[in-house]
Symmetry: C5
């Protein structure tokens, strides 16, 4: 995060609407893909030049332009000019530290949120900003990098399966949102596994290492929460919006996504509760261990310190120590020592330390 | 939970409205029961074929179709088609990880919530998703498994006792909801007993085991809370809904269920407070124990270490140690030791360590 | 609480409106008292038969029927039938685990709340459910047991003092509510005294016992809070209700009760904060004590362990140990020991352990 | 507080509107001061008899009656009768445990809040209830004791400086409120100093005493909060009220007081956060200290215990111990001991305990 | 803060609207800069006399007057008189302990907030109050000291770049707000770096010093929060205000600032969560360290205390101790000791203490 803030600073002071890419450059050059369809027709192209898609702006077919890679600001600028996007919207698209939100600008709706994926190697959540512009019969989506969770939607479009080819651009945006929110469940599952794993470990071997793992988990959940909480408002906002761009029949679908976001949020909150509980358990375990250590020390020390003292007494070199001369002095002392030990053990047993 | 998330993932990417059962298969084959009644007539059947109940859709008598087992998605699909249920609703019925909710879809109301039961053997709460569709003079209910809390409602229907036969389908839905919420009190009672038991144990024997029991209880309460909190909104939503399907006279009954859900929520919250308090007590008890252990160690060590030192002095082998030659040297040393012990004991008594 | 839940369960599954007494039977037989008054007339009777009061239903005088003891459900049923009370309301009256609430049912208002008293012997709060029905010129109140906080209201009615005889039934209900809320201040005072007592003890003698007292207090406050929080909504609800049963002039009085409930709630919350603070203090005190114990152990041990070692050196039996032959060897060793002690004491003083 | 609750109890059960002074009697006899002014005229008197001010009720000049001392309930009763104050309002004035609030009663507005002052000797906040009644061209204020924060307002009235003489009674009430809220900043400053002082101490010498100081501070903040939180609603309520008694021009001034109350609340909340933080620091410091103590004990003990053991070996009296006969046996043992010490010191240094 | 409260007190009791500078005097004399522009023209001056800018009040060009230094109250008073600012607004400008807020006064909007900068030398956040008055075609800004974050806006005005010269005074206020909120990201970045640094340190070397750093960070975040939270309301308030002074086209820009403030608030909250987590980690680390120390002590002590006891036994001087005469007595004892040590080590290994 600190890194993004730093990038952001480079821009501070520039006039609003100045297009500067704030984020990591993840690609050599931007990749533009173009899909145009209605119930009968379907067309898919990889564009070298953003201008190729301009003629499709006014057509009744649904046009979906997807751009991977945000560092070539001129592409986004030309696109923005042609589709009449507000400069501040273009700025938001380029700034990859946006808070998820939806904005209704009259002739188009702008949505920005985060797409999450789990990198099994790094054992960490990876996150990429996705922005979408929903206009009259067109959708433009912007991603930071190639690779996304939309492949199955593309397949449905190609095969003409499901509702998606029969209905408008608003349904496409719904489908994209749904795919993103669905992908959150993968992340949640990974977290769930991690938590279960940690709990197992916690009970059987509360090592020093585990504390840092709990802490890391906690921080990741703080991060996840930041991506997830605003979604509720985002989806709810689109659903309740009275924009003519959202058909009434799509409302039901958006409510479905809304339910999913609430489920995601609920699960994240439960996880937070669980992780807090694990910290408590961890701390108690440490206390318990220390207790166990102390008990052993106490038992050994309290048994042997008095015995050693008795031995010390008869190790003194006084001339006149009658006991030393007794025939069974030594045996008597050993017996006394045994009695002392027995008393101690009974006391400890009574105290439930043994 | 992690398991359900995993199941869910199988579905991610399929077009919305695709019917896939997300959950455990708990039955060989679905069991369909059918009840049709009005004030005078009553009819109850076990159906082999879902189509048998289709003719009852338009009749003025109240029809209650109950389906146990969700894995045969074709049954639900055919049923849905005949009763004109939205594909997303069917999807919600099949996905057994739903958050409790009520949705008014105009010509029917959809309700999904969880039915809880306590498995005494496993000492754990078992949970099953129940969905209901309330239409004009019909109710369709879906359960994951056979066995439910509705038997007494069926008996009342059979015997024609109470209001239930005299009033419409909305009252039946109320009765089902009421039965489910009432069953929560059984769970709460079990938790109450567990908490009381743990508190007893906590005071008399704060063992290591108890910490894990408290932790388990806490997690179960987090789970219970997730089932219970949305109920308030659910019942309140139905009560306040202006649907023509809910008669005014039923409002009073729904408000009664609403009061019960609030009581359930209140009790869950109190339990959470109590369990937190128990954790505090537990940690304090551990500290106290450690204190007690330390005190014994300190007392033994501080008494005997100086004495052993004195004995050590007179165990030295110096040629010229006049005390060793004294006649009452040994006696004198023993007396000095006693004085040291006396001083220590007085000091400890003053410090209230004894 | 677990007990009440258990009782409740007996009823689960019965048709709604079935009258079953859920609670402890505290009386041999129900006691019915009857008061009828207007500005000029006053009449007070103990009824053997609930039907005796039925003729007073329509009269312009204010009729107050009070019933102590809820287990004779037939009395309540007949009363309910005559005064046209909804079966669910009768059920609420009989179920003594109600959450405090007020309900406006058009031709009467139903109020249920808890009357608290402090049992000095048991050192515990005792609680009894009170329900009231306010109709056109009549008030019916139900209590679990004889003995209440209304005696002074009865005296005012008998003597014709104060406003109470001049105004209607709504004012009587206000007076009853006011008496109950006023009685909460007695409970609060008891808690205040307990807290002050515990704080004193905490500072002077943080014993093991005190932890359980703090814990008990905390639980009692959780219980009190459950009775007290819903009151705010209850009184506020009646005040804001637009029922014709509540005269405008009574509004001012209800607002006064409302202020008192807020004061009660505020005080309960403050007490909770204080009790939490006490727990912190207690835990710190334990830590401090342990610190003190450890310090003594450390000082004694660190002083004597090296000295004992020195003595041990010269207790060895080597043939060739020149120091042992020296004339002032013994004295020298004693002096060395003194020097070691002095250095240690200076070190401890520097570290502020002494 | 417990004391006030006890006083309150004396009244429980009396009819509402019975005038009983609940609070400490702080004065011999009530002191009544009277100020009457408009832009041209100013008159100030000390009244012996409350009736003297009655003729000024209807006049167009602003009349301010201030009463110090509340135990002479007859004065307040006569005043209340003449100015037509509701009996419940008079009761609120006399009950000095009121929660701050403002009530609009149509022909007058009633305000009650607390005036705080800091007693430097007792090192404690002192608090006094102030009630005000704002009517058409009159203000009546009630205080528990002589001495207030209004002296500068009186001076401005006497000198005819500022707006106060030119505008109406509502501005006077504003000025009084403003003076009270301003006086809270003095209390906040005292708390701020205390907190800074405690933090200094905490870092340099976390004594046992400081824990009780933190606890006391925490409790005082709980108390302050109780006085301060309702102010927001109080001032906001007056500002938003549509009473004809509040001129529009005064709204701006009330908003200013409102901002100040928010600032007071914010500061109290920050202080609470800081005090919580201090408790954490304190507890950590204790842990650190204990750690330091333990380290010294461990180092001394782990160094000398093995050495003492070695010395003990050669203090044994076996006939056949060849080492004892060696010429350099003693020297060898001393050297071995030095080596053991060296190894230990290296180990401790590696563990960063030294 | 305590200092500002103290300053404030000097003013307590003065009539409202009295102009007193509450804050530190940071400048010799106030510096007045004046900028006047429209799309074609641009004029910038340093004024010696505030009256020089008065003629520009009514002109259609946008006039921006900036005043650095608040102690010369007469300048502000004359300015206020000419531009018809309410005395309470002037008071707010001079009181540098204002809570951030925006107020719509009809013919002008008043905004006050804090400009933050990070002093790298002092390693602390520095804060300065900025007030702005937006009128019909004029903006007046007040700062405590020279040096601000507006230089780039001035440059844009000078060069005529961007929208700023083409649009009205409301856009200028937006630009100033935007610059201030943008500067918060610099502060956030510094905090982010600090937190990351502390976390590193925490893991590798949880020293005593770090606790105070965490505490300081926590306090700074409390302070930052106080500046940042009200911003949301402030910007949201301006955006939603229906003032004619805010053109519709500016709304979009204000919404952008609003998003940024939410992002700032979110980040501050995340930081608070992280710092709390760090405290937990710190405390656990201390516990772990103590555990490690205790373990070493226990191992050494439990191994050597029994051995020393055995040695003590054979150091006794009894006449009749047969073992002492045995040929291999010494060797046998040494072997026994080795066995004891071996048993102990196995026990410790089993307990996972080694």
């Amino acid at each position: 995060m600190a890194k993004l803030l730093k990038k952001r600073l480079k821009k501070a002071g520039l006039p609003p609407g100045t297009l500067v890419h704030i984020g990591e450059r993840k690609l050599e050059s931007a990749r533009i893909t173009f899909i145009d369809y209605d119930e009968q027709n379907f067309q898919e192209k990889k564009l070298d030049n953003i201008e190729e898609c301009f003629p499709f702006k006014g057509t009744p077919t649904v046009t979906w332009i997807n751009i991977d890679g945000l560092h070539q600001t001129d592409i986004i600028e030309r696109l923005g000019k042609h589709f009449e996007l507000h400069p501040l919207i273009l700025e938001d698209i380029l700034n990859t530290a946006q808070r998820p939100k939806a904005e209704d600008l009259g002739n188009y709706i702008f949505v920005v949120l985060r797409m999450l994926s789990y990198n099994d190697q790094a054992q960490a959540v990876q996150s990429e900003q996705v922005s979408m512009v929903l206009g009259q019969s067109f959708v433009i989506s912007f991603q930071e990098n190639v690779g996304d969770v939309f492949e199955q939607i593309r397949n449905r479009l190609r095969n003409g399966k499901g509702r998606v080819r029969k209905v408008g651009a608003d349904y496409l945006v719904y489908a994209l949102l749904d795919a993103i929110v669905d992908s959150y469940f993968i992340i949640l599952e990974k977290f769930g596994e991690k938590i279960e794993g940690l709990e197992e470990e916690l009970i059987h071997d509360p090592s020093d290492e585990i504390l840092h793992q709990i802490h890391t988990l906690k921080r990741e959940l703080i991060g996840l929460r930041k991506s997830v909480w605003p979604l509720r408002e985002l989806v709810g906002g689109i659903e309740r919006s009275e924009s003519a761009l959202i058909k009434e029949s799509t409302g039901m679908y958006l409510r479905d996504v809304y339910d999913h976001t609430i489920q995601v949020i609920d699960t994240v909150e439960s996880y937070r509760d669980m992780v807090s509980g694990m910290l408590d358990i961890y701390l108690s375990s440490i206390s318990n261990r220390m207790n166990a250590v102390m008990k052993v020390l106490t038992i050994i020390a309290t048994i042997f310190i008095p015995l050693t003292f008795i031995a010390g007494i008869y190790g003194m070199n006084f001339k006149h120590m009658p006991e030393l001369e007794w025939k069974f002095g030594y045996a008597a002392v050993l017996i006394i020592m045994l009695i002392v030990v027995a008393i101690m053990l009974i006391y400890f047993r009574k105290k439930k330390w043994l």
